[in-house]
């Protein structure tokens, strides 16, 4: 113990004498560790955001969109044909044991006016179950009912963004608005959800009964008045998603009278698949950044080795004297290893501070989500100490095996 303390004291004194040199040597490690911390923070921030988005949409959610229509041998792209219907949506939960809910959705956009304010937004015509499928809750008012859908009542639920832009401080419940010049009554305001995975504001939306939407606002895009733009479903549980997808596919093929050789005239996606792809690409990015950061750690280590070799040469006579008064190989080895580890660990600590600061600045300036994890910090400290030992070993060993006579004679 006395040994370690005195080794550290000797090392600190040696580093103190060459303050500028020590600081420049540390710089490599500082930058390396800061880069590792910052990239790890960006990586886990991105991952956290994706997970939050999955949670915001609901990991049980499955979307069916029309598409892949084959017309005279010409395959059209997704969404070009209206092949899904309200009755498909009604039948899905009845016939498929793993599907809890299914709601039809028609989509449009339009200008909303309240008093002097107006706002352009997305319009969704759907059924009351939509709220549960998308895991929306209300901050104010109440949802529209199945009766509203049947009667085609002109009632609307506003997303938080829409409500804020049209009404500001005023309570929107019970107020009358005009959507594409059709008067509606606001019955509720949705709780905010934030951005969607594709960067859309999920709160910039107005929900209304599907019947009202089709008849008064959005219109019908196909000869078939029953057609819808999408069906959103909720599986009974996260584990049953695959089963639910298969059941939905079988039922829809049967209802659409598709022969076994024909392609599906719809596509089924679930949110987890979409996010898994995104997560994979962000993970590749993180790994690449981490690799670049590790290279700078290695470069920092080489800097330490270089300076330690200079230090051993400068202090050859001191080493000889220590050997003459009884220092063994391991004593000298320990002394120089401690010095290298102090250099790299101090650099590592400075790097952590810089890395955390960089993460905060990045999240402020670039508006990225960053998460500094304790694991990354521990790893950075561990690696910088390891770099010190790894790159300090060769110079330390060189010092430890000097010939005492030659060392004492050196200038």
């Amino acid at each position: 113990m006395r040994h370690l303390i005195s080794s550290m004291r000797i090392a600190f004194r040696a580093l103190e004498v060459n303050k500028l040199r020590s600081a420049l040597t540390m710089l490599g490690i500082v930058i390396g560790v800061a880069a590792v911390i910052a990239t790890a923070a960006i990586g886990s921030g991105a991952k956290q955001r994706i997970q939050q988005q999955i949670a915001s949409i609901g990991s049980n959610t499955i979307i069916v969109i029309p598409g892949s229509l084959t017309s005279s041998g010409l395959r059209l792209g997704t969404g070009n044909a209206i092949t899904l219907s309200e009755s498909d949506a009604r039948e899905l939960p009845l016939q498929c044991p793993d599907i809890a809910l299914a709601v039809p959705v028609v989509r449009g956009s339009g200008q909303i006016v309240y008093g002097n304010s107006n706002w352009a937004t997305l319009l969704f015509g759907t059924t009351p179950d939509y709220l549960e499928v998308r895991d929306f809750s209300l901050v104010e008012g109440s949802p529209f009912s199945q009766q509203d859908v049947v009667s085609g009542n002109k009632v609307a639920l506003l997303g938080k963004t829409v409500a804020a832009n049209l009404f500001g401080e005023i309570d929107p419940i019970g107020q009358s608005i005009r959507i594409k010049n059709v008067p509606f009554t606001v019955v509720g305001v949705l709780a905010p959800k934030g951005q969607s995975p594709t960067g859309q504001d999920q709160d910039d939306v107005v929900l209304m009964p599907i019947s009202t939407g089709k008849r008064k606002v959005i219109g019908v895009k196909s000869a078939n008045a029953d057609a819808v733009d999408a069906i959103m479903m909720q599986a009974k549980s996260g584990e049953r998603i695959q089963a639910a997808q298969e059941e939905a596919r079988a039922l829809l093929r049967q209802r659409h009278h598709l022969a076994p050789a024909e392609d599906d005239d719809f596509s089924i996606r679930n949110m987890t698949d979409i996010f898994a792809a995104q997560e994979a690409s962000s993970r590749i990015m993180s790994i690449m950044l981490a690799a670049v950061a590790s290279i700078s750690l290695v470069v920092g280590g080489i800097g330490i080795m270089n300076i330690m070799l200079v230090s051993v040469r400068e202090r050859t006579r001191e080493i000889g004297l220590r050997q003459a008064v009884g220092a063994r190989t391991r004593d000298i080895l320990a002394q120089f290893l401690v010095e290298a580890v102090i250099l790299s660990s101090a650099g590592g600590c400075a790097g952590i501070v810089l890395g955390v600061a960089a993460s905060i600045i990045i999240s402020r300036l670039a508006n990225w989500n960053t998460v500094v994890s304790a694991g990354a910090v521990v790893l950075a400290v561990f690696f910088s100490a390891l770099v010190g030992i790894g790159f300090g070993y060769y110079p330390a060993r060189k010092a430890a095996y000097l010939d005492p006579i030659e060392a004492l004679r050196s200038e």
């Binding site: 006395r2 040994h3 005195s6 004194r13 004498v17 006579r317 001191e318 004297l321 220590r322 050997q323 003459a324 008064v325 009884g326 220092a327 063994r328 190989t329 391991r330 004593d331 095996y401 005492p404 006579i405 004492l408």
Partner: protein, 247 residues
């Protein structure tokens, strides 16, 4: 065992490229415990080579060496370091103090490498500085001290592990004659009162006069080995002879 060091046909050959230099040739010699020996000779005569081998800093090319009964030539680096730590104190011509360490830290340096030592380092360091007459200079840096004071720190450092042997290589080489006499007085006092065996390598007659035995080297061989009766040197009672010697 009256002899503390004994060598048999020590030979040291240096190879410098094509040239081989016989620094020592068949040196057989016995040093009595508690004696004060001067080793003399011109530079290149082999006296420093012998000193390095006797001090366990170097190993002979051939021949045998027993230190305090231990056959040294078969020991490895760390075993030699252990012997240096326990049995030998070194004093060098250029003092070899660590410039950024205070006087007492320089004196305490060998304690770092001494295993199983439970003494209080501060007390031991102060005692040693007292022994060489440097009380109150514990915190001074070597650069703030005169040459004679620096060499006294080096002697205190050599003594802190209570060695049986002091090896001094031209200890007065960088000092004026008065200061040199003071340093030699300290050696003589340590030899007489503490029965430490002292070996001094020198080429100066006035330094050799403190010794009770003078061995002269030329071309790697002993050419003269003469005993002087104790007390023959009149100047031996130097300025430090009157100083109180702490036990």
């Amino acid at each position: 065992m009256p002899e503390i060091m004994k060598t048999s046909r020590l030979t040291k050959i240096y190879r410098l490229g094509e040239v081989t230099v016989n620094a020592l040739q068949d040196v057989t010699l016995t040093i009595e415990r508690g004696s004060f020996v001067a080793i003399m000779g011109a530079s290149g005569s082999g006296k420093s080579t012998l000193m390095n081998i006797l001090g366990c800093l170097d190993r002979p090319t051939s021949g045998r060496y027993w230190l305090d009964g231990i056959a040294v030539e078969g020991l490895d680096r760390d075993q030699l370091a252990e012997i240096r730590s326990q049995k030998i104190g070194f004093v060098f011509q250029n003092f070899n103090l660590l410039p950024r360490m205070s006087a007492i830290e320089n004196v305490q340096l060998p304690l770092l490498y001494r295993s199983g030592d439970t003494r209080d380092a501060d007390e031991a360091g102060r005692n040693m500085l007292g022994l060489v007459g440097l009380v109150g200079r514990e915190r001074s840096l070597p650069t703030q001290l005169s040459g004679g004071q620096q060499q006294r720190i080096a002697i205190a450092r050599a003594l802190i592990n209570e060695p049986q042997i002091l090896l001094a290589d031209e200890p007065t080489g960088q000092l004026d004659s008065h200061t040199g006499a003071e340093i030699m007085g300290i050696f003589q006092r340590l030899n007489r009162t503490r029965a430490i065996t002292v070996l001094v390598v020198t080429h100066a007659e006035e330094v050799a006069r403190y010794a009770s035995r003078t061995i002269t080297f030329r071309d790697g061989r002993i050419v003269e080995d003469s005993l002087r009766p104790p007390g023959a040197h009149a100047d031996a009672e130097g300025p430090f002879a009157s100083t109180e010697v702490s036990p």
